[in-house]
Amino acid sequence: MHIPDGFLPLWESAIFWLISLVFVARSIKWASKELDEKSVPLFGVLGAGIFAIMSMNVPIPWGTSGHMVGGPLVSIIFDSPWAGVLLITLVLIVQGLFFADGGLVVMGANIFNMGIITSFVGYYVFKMLKNVSIPVAAFAAGWTGVFLAAIACAIELAIAGTFPLDKGLMYMGLYHAVIGIIEGVITAVVVSYLSSVRPDLIKGLNKVISNG
């Protein structure tokens, strides 16, 4: 879902840079307040792991492929969407600067879709459903996050005139409804695994337990 330079006009790219910078600044503030010394290695290993797994495109039908994004997973583990925003932004910077995956002019839009939308949507979907079942909530968080990020991406490209609105929404929605399953499954597997071996690592679960 990395938008390359050329897909959005300059004015729209600038607007998304502005919006995303506000969120990124807020996520840095979150980290400097809420992140503790003990979580630093976990934040680092998630950065490495999510960079790596984003490179592994899985085939989906119609000759298309897709990969994980990771915003919902990071937000669930750190019990804050700001964690996802910060970590995915850093990964997108590495991908854009070193590998030309996603343009630099449109990076604000990519941060908005893959960093901000997946993290916020994923976090609140998980929060809503976690009392039903942890794996179900984690799957739904991953799927919904990616699906709505793709819908946002289609709308941005329709505003630009690059894609027609109806067909852009249809194809982006269809492909990412399937790609979202990859995100959902990996999110559910990692969250379920961590919650069984180290429930204290998943900050969002601590509150459920301690609040009774």
């Binding site: 879902m1 960079f51 592994m56 495109n57 070193f98 630009a160 690059t162």
Partner: protein, 111 residues
């Protein structure tokens, strides 16, 4: 080695294993956005946008050292190197930045 270490080292091993295997396992099919673009893109608008930023085709305004996760002329080995280096940079950046932010906080508390 306590359990936290196990998860950190286990995670790192998985990350680097994926970086090494990904060039062999990853699908080369276009992703969801590229597939959509192939079907519906408005070439005229694309052309206008490209002209605006001085590009010949869509991509990135600043050339990247390892475009498309590879190194020119190095084939699969180049792809493995690119991904391993990328994973190390991502690790360094996320670990480094969070370390600096946490450190600033604790130094504020100590004052």
């Amino acid at each position: 080695m306590d359990k936290m270490d196990k998860i950190i080292y286990g995670g790192l091993i998985i990350a680097f294993l994926i970086s090494i295997l990904s060039p062999f396992l990853a699908s080369t099919n276009p992703d969801g956005l590229e597939s959509t673009a192939e079907k519906v893109i408005n070439e005229k608008v694309l052309h206008q946008n490209l002209e605006e930023i001085g590009l010949k085709e869509e991509g990135s305004v600043i050339p990247a050292p390892m475009p498309d996760y590879g190194i020119e002329g190095m084939g699969k080995i180049g792809e493995i190197i690119a991904l391993v280096v990328g994973t190390m940079i991502a690790l360094g950046l996320t670990y480094g930045l969070s370390k600096v932010l946490v450190k600033n906080k604790s130094s504020q508390y100590n004052q």
